[in-house]
């Protein structure tokens, strides 16, 4: 009998949980690239407005766009533009730009390629597998280990459209589910070369200059560094209510400070 009463209590607790539909007043789901900005902003925003709670979910750009399109979350985060398929399925989505990201080509600090500059064509030849050894670039006789993001990743599709120019990335490339994982691999392997968002640059890896320009806030703003993209929060129709207030907050000075603190580039 004891067991039965325990289950009754369990059931009651479960039902009491059913009262509210969703715990957070606003839920943002999607791209893992955008997540650090949104999470940090949600943290600060909730502190300033103690009566609101903002939940952040990952899932990737695809999941985020689908969920906002179907109305299961108010805001989707994406590091890529809507595909034509997605535009057709959800024609009422609004794309709000909240920050600029820039892709850095990175190598291990012990790799002396980090002191030289590559042209976009050379980067393309490396990633397409045409150049497979560092000696072809004037370095030591070591095999190049390519590190890229997984299929469907916003960062990857940006890299492919900006660098690869319709050539495929070599199928010998190691695939990583996140920029942090790319940094981890490159920092631990002197043969590795990869690409990641500028927010992930730290002392454990070194960026390579592209066309003689190193990735930085200034070079992106001056449009001299070629690999940059916008990051988006997507809403159904014009952003309104709490979603609108949160996006406004992100676009405010305080919000853009967070963008910068997290390593991305402010909108101007």
């Amino acid at each position: 009998m004891k067991a039965v009463s325990v289950f009754l209590v369990l059931g009651l607790v479960l039902f009491s949980g059913c009262a509210g539909k969703d715990s957070a007043d606003l839920v943002i789901a999607g791209s893992t690239t955008v997540q650090p900005i949104v999470t940090r902003a949600a943290e600060v925003y909730s502190k300033e407005h103690p009566d609101t709670s903002i939940g952040v979910e990952g899932g990737g750009s695809g999941t985020g766009i689908r969920m906002v399109g179907e109305g299961s979350v108010a805001v989707g985060a994406s590091s890529r533009e809507l595909s034509s398929e997605e535009k057709r399925a959800h024609p009422d989505l609004t794309v709000n730009t909240i920050a600029i990201d820039c892709i850095a080509i990175v190598v291990n600090p012990s790799n002396n390629l980090s002191n030289s500059s590559l042209s976009l064509a050379e980067v393309r030849d490396i990633f397409s597998g045409k150049i497979t050894n560092y000696k072809e670039l004037g370095g030591p006789d070591r095999r190049i280990v390519l590190v890229e993001r997984e299929d469907g990743s916003g960062t990857r599709s940006m890299f492919e459209s900006m660098v690869m120019n319709n050539t495929d990335v070599s199928d010998a490339a190691l695939q990583k589910p996140a920029s942090g994982a790319i940094r981890f691999t490159v920092s631990g392997n002197e043969n590795a070369i990869g690409y990641l968002g500028i927010g992930y640059l730290d002392g454990s890896i070194k960026p390579i200059a592209v066309n003689g320009v190193l990735p930085s806030e200034e070079s992106v703003r001056a449009k001299s560094y070629p690999l940059s993209r916008d990051l988006y929060l997507i809403t159904k129709g014009k952003p309104s209510g709490l979603a609108g207030e949160f996006i406004d907050y992100l676009l405010s000075d305080a919000g853009q400070d967070i963008v910068k603190e997290e390593g991305f580039i402010r909108l101007e």
Partner: protein, 291 residues
């Protein structure tokens, strides 16, 4: 009396509903995985999917043979590494270990079985990957071998416990007969006990293979995830399960890419179900032999 009888029938009926839940869930899983996966074959033929080796979702290429080969290679490597060690340890526990040693080794194996796969993954990501890179002097340690090593550790408990059970269920008579003929401990073990326990041990190995094919988290962290047909154990690769984990989040929902990922799930699902049935058949047969 009548009332009691009724109460019993009511409880019996309620429990029957409970007990078909497992079957219902299993059927639901099949239904939803098929529903998610089958639309792929409106766009791509089954043979292109199973035999093709180009996986470029953006271009509508969904060849998965390299994932299947990598999954089989990883599993093969893991079995190769863990079977000798596992059977030895099972023999040790069943035949020669003194009480104190059993009291240490048994809990250790239970604990090994209880460690979450993500922890094995994080451990392997740093320790085993560098070990493989340095030992074999390869460009990257993220290889099929690294995944095999971590899987070997993870499936050891299954192999040990099932092998130990089957060795212990060999009738005493076999052993006594062997000793009576003047055989040493070792001769008895490898000529009599292990062969007699053979089918049970094989059942354990098959079960372990199923576990290895289906494992995701530990593998995805160390295998490198390269969509190219692996040429050997020292190549990076990408298994069926790691491809799903990597790409599901970013895939456009209900797109062909999404369908294809469900089909990738279908392959280990079917393989593992088949192995599970085979393994339990062998176990029952083995038990019947000595009964």
């Amino acid at each position: 009396m009548k009332k009691l009888f009724d109460q019993e029938r009511v409880v019996g009926a309620a429990l029957m509903v409970f007990s078909i839940t497992a079957l219902v869930i299993l059927l639901l899983i099949m239904l939803f995985i098929l529903d998610g996966g089958l639309p792929l074959f409106n766009k791509v033929s089954v043979s292109d999917f199973l035999l093709g080796d180009k996986w470029v979702p953006a271009k509508g290429l969904f060849g998965a043979s390299q994932f299947i080969v990598a999954a089989l290679l990883v599993t093969f490597g893991a079995i190769l590494l863990s079977v000798p060690l596992g059977i030895s340890c099972a023999v040790f526990l069943a035949e020669i270990a003194p009480g104190w040693a059993k009291r240490i080794v048994r809990p250790a194996i239970e604990l090994l079985a209880g460690i979450p796969s993500i922890i094995y993954g994080v451990f392997a990501l740093i320790i085993i990957v560098s070990l493989v890179r340095v030992t074999f002097n390869v460009a990257t340690g993220e290889t099929i071998l690294a995944a095999s090593i971590v899987l070997a550790i993870m499936i050891l408990p299954i192999i040990i416990s099932i092998s130990q059970d089957s060795i212990e269920s060999v009738p005493r008579l076999y052993k006594e007969g062997s000793y009576a003929l003047g055989a040493t401990d070792w001769q008895t073990i490898h000529r009599v006990l292990v062969p007699a326990a053979g089918p049970g041990i094989v059942a354990g190995i098959i079960l372990a293979m199923g576990r290895a094919i289906g494992e995701t988290m530990a593998v995805v962290l160390v295998i490198g995830n390269v969509e190219k047909m692996p040429a050997g154990l020292l190549d990076p690769g990408e298994t069926l399960t790691s491809a799903i984990l990597l790409e599901m989040g970013e895939a456009v929902v209900k797109s062909t890419h999404y369908n294809a990922l469900f089909c990738l799930g279908l392959v280990p699902f079917i393989l593992v179900l088949f192995m599970s049935v085979l393994s339990s058949r062998l176990t029952t047969k083995n038990k019947a032999r000595f009964a």
